[in-house]
Structure formats: structure tokens, C-alpha cells
Amino acid sequence: MGKLTADQARDLANQFHDLSVAVGNYRFDHWDDFTSAKRDQLEDLQWTLMNYSSDFTSQAISLTLSDLQGTLDHIQRTTKKAQQVIKTIKTVDKVIRIAAAATVLAAAIMTGNAEAAIKAAEDTYEQATS
């Protein structure tokens, strides 16, 4: 028999879960019909089925995660690239601030006000270096 797929393991987990529930219900529905030993035997069987269900769940999760590995690697690489772009945006932001400050400088020069132009030049420098 070949290896199970994640979906097959999940299907088996469901089936064993439902079987264990059925055994539990049967045990309680016929409680007074059974001897104590028979009830214990059914209880053990119920727990065996529950544990099989849980084991198939473990397999399903493990197989799902294995299948996912390449996809996760690609997202991680892309996320790193995006983080680099975010750093670049901060640089772009700085360039734009310099350009905007230069607009202000030009406006001050056009007024012919030397004092304001010097102040604006200082501010341009400050914008560019902050």
C-alpha cells in the first residue's frame, strides 16, 4: 500500500472519529444490558478508535506541512524583497522631501528677500540631511 495523502489521512481521521462516537453512544444506550467488564471493553475500544483518529490527524497535518514547504519558502523570499522595497521607499521619501524643500527655496529667492532665502537654504539643507 502506498503512502497516504493528506486528504486520505484526514478522511480516515474523520471515519475513526465517527466510529468512536458510535461505540460511545452504543455503550451508553445499552448501559444496563452490559456487564461491567463488557462496558470496560467497549470503553477501551472507544479510546483505541479515538487515538487512531488523532494519529491520522497527526499524519494529515504533517503531510499538509510537507506539501507547503516550497510555497512558504517562496513567500518568505518575496517578503524579504518587499522589506527591501520598504527601505527604498524611505529613501524615495527623502528625495521627494529634498525636492519639495527646494521648491520652497526657489519661491523664497523669487521674492527677493535675502534673509528669507538664506533661511530657506538652511532649511533645505536640514531637510536633505535629516
Binding site: R10, A13, N14, H17, S20, G24, F28, W31, D40, E43, D44, Q46, W47, T48, M50, N51, S53, S54, D55, T57, S58, A60, I61, S62, T64, L65, D67, L68, T71, L72, H74, I75, Q76, T78, T79, A82, Q83, V85, I86, I89, K90, V92, D93, I96, R97, A99, A100, T103, V104, A107, A108, T111, G112, N113, A116, A117, K119, A120, D123, Q127
Partner: protein, 280 residues
């Protein structure tokens, strides 16, 4: 005969119009991607409970079955780091998407606001100050938004298939597998307490009341966790849906289209995250 406006007069208007039309507000994308902070503690706690529910079930197992059940829990625990890693990769991606969409990465708005004060000292009158500062802001907005839009579109385009796969996988693990484990915990507790009631209720009616109360309390806790698992599934579904919509509309984003596409999901995501936080 009306005078024809010269190209010299029309050109600045055209440029401004193009810039303004090109401005897309990515606030909704930022809000959509903003699940990482609130989810950073509650989602891992939920994932950790896959093993937790199994361990709680051990307590209810008959003595002869406890070791076997505990061994199963150990096998289940092996997957925990892998699920947490897959989830963290998704949350990191969403955090990057949020930063790229806006508010944290770039501070141009506030910086340029200060320019108005400086302009007013330069001898320009208030209308001129307002015009120059406003134009500088619009230029900065347009340039950065254009850049962001290009990079966001590239990011979303490159990862959409992967995001669909990962969200589907995480959703299945929590929505199906974890819930099945919770159901086993409920079955184990029912089996344990109901057996005790059947055996001793007649002789010990007062103790039976306490047993029923305990059983009710366990059942309520499991129900809360099942609802949290459903909410987790909804979070994954909303991420997948929102990302798909952004992918399909890339290249033709407008502020209105983003609000329409991802706006409703923002509220859903917030509510689902709150539900998970309530249980964990």
C-alpha cells in the same frame, strides 16, 4: 471667436490632473493587512492548543489507555512548530504588505506640513504659501503612491497563488483537524463524566450535581474554542478573498475600488480576531 488656450496654459493643468487622478489611497489595504499585531499572541495560542486539547483528553482516558493517548499527543506536538512557522510566514507577509501600503514606512505628509510655516516667513502671501505647499504635497503624494502602487502590484501578483495555498492549508488544519481534536476532547470528557454519573448518581446525588456542573463547564470551554477555530478559518478565508480581489484588480486600483473590495473584509477580520482573542 473664442481664443484658443495655449499649450503653455494647458500643460500644468494636465499634469496636475494626471497627478491627482493617479493618487490612490492605500489606507484600506493597510487596514486589511493589519492583522499581524492583534493576532500575534492569540493565533499562536490557538495553534498550540492542538496539542493542548489532546493532553487534556489524556486525563479522561481509562488508566490502561493514558500512556497510549499521551504517545499520540507527542506525535501531534511534532507538527506544532511547522504550523506556527507557516502562520508566522503569512503574518510577516501581511506586515510587509501593510508597510508597503502606507502609514508606517513613509512620513512625507507630516514633514511637508511643516513647510507652510517656513514658506510664510519667506515673504510669500498666504495664498501663495498655500499654493506652493499644496503643490509640494500633491507631488510627493503622487510620486510615492505611484511607486507604492507599482511595488504593491508586483508583490501581490507574485504571491497570490502561494497565499491562496497557505491560507487554505492553515484553515484546514485549524477548521478541520483542530476541531476534530476538540471533538475528541469533548467525547473523552463526556465518556468519563457520564460513566461516573451512571455508576454513582443514585447513591451520591449531591456529588452528581458537581459532576454535571464540571461537565457543563468543560463543554462550554470547548465550545468557545470551536468558535475560535471557526473564526480562525474565517480570518484565513478573508485574507485569501481580499488578496484575490487585490490581485484581480491590480493595475486598475482606485481609492474607491480598494474601499469596495477590501473595506468590508477589514471589519470581518477585526471581529474574527476578537473572537479568537476571547478564547485564547
Amino acid at each position: 471667436m473664442p481664443t484658443r488656450p495655449s499649450t503653455r496654459h494647458i500643460a500644468p493643468l494636465c499634469i496636475l490632473t494626471v497627478l491627482l487622478v493617479g493618487c490612490v489611497d492605500f489606507t484600506e489595504v493597510g487596514k486589511f493587512a493589519d492583522i499581524s499585531k492583534s493576532a500575534s499572541s492569540s493565533l499562536p495560542a490557538l495553534v498550540a492548543d492542538i496539542n493542548g486539547t489532546c493532553k487534556r483528553r489524556v486525563v479522561f482516558a481509562p488508566t490502561g489507555k493514558q500512556a497510549e493517548t499521551l504517545e499520540g499527543c507527542k506525535r501531534l506536538a511534532i507538527s506544532k512548530p511547522g504550523i506556527l512557522k507557516a502562520q508566522q510566514v503569512l503574518l510577516d507577509y501581511m506586515a510587509a504588505l501593510k508597510s508597503l501600503a502606507g502609514d508606517q514606512g513613509v512620513t512625507y505628509g507630516k514633514k511637508l506640513d511643516g513647510l507652510s510655516d517656513e514658506l510664510s516667513k519667506s515673504g510669500l502671501d498666504s495664498k501663495q504659501v498655500s499654493a506652493v505647499a499644496g503643490l509640494a504635497n500633491k507631488l510627493a503624494d503622487a510620486a510615492l503612491n505611484g511607486y507604492r502602487r507599482k511595488e504593491l502590484a508586483a508583490l501581490i501578483s507574485s504571491t497570490n497563488d502561494d497565499i491562496q495555498i497557505v491560507t487554505h492549508a492553515l484553515r484546514t488544519i485549524i477548521d478541520t483537524d483542530y476541531k476534530r481534536e476538540l471533538s475528541l476532547e469533548r467525547e473523552g470528557s463526556q465518556e468519563y463524566y457520564q460513566s461516573a454519573l451512571r455508576k454513582h448518581e443514585t447513591n451520591e446525588p449531591l456529588a452528581a450535581i458537581a459532576v454535571r456542573r464540571d461537565l457543563g463547564s468543560i463543554d462550554a470551554t470547548i465550545s468557545d474554542k470551536e468558535q475560535a477555530a471557526d473564526a480562525y478559518g474565517k480570518i484565513m478565508e478573508d485574507i485569501a478573498t481580499g488578496h484575490q480581489k487585490l490581485y484581480e484588480s491590480r493595475g486598475k486600483w482606485t481609492t474607491q475600488s480598494l474601499i469596495k473590495d477590501v473595506g468590508p473584509l477589514v471589519k470581518d477580520l477585526y471581529e474574527s480576531t476578537q473572537k479568537v482573542e476571547k478564547a485564547f
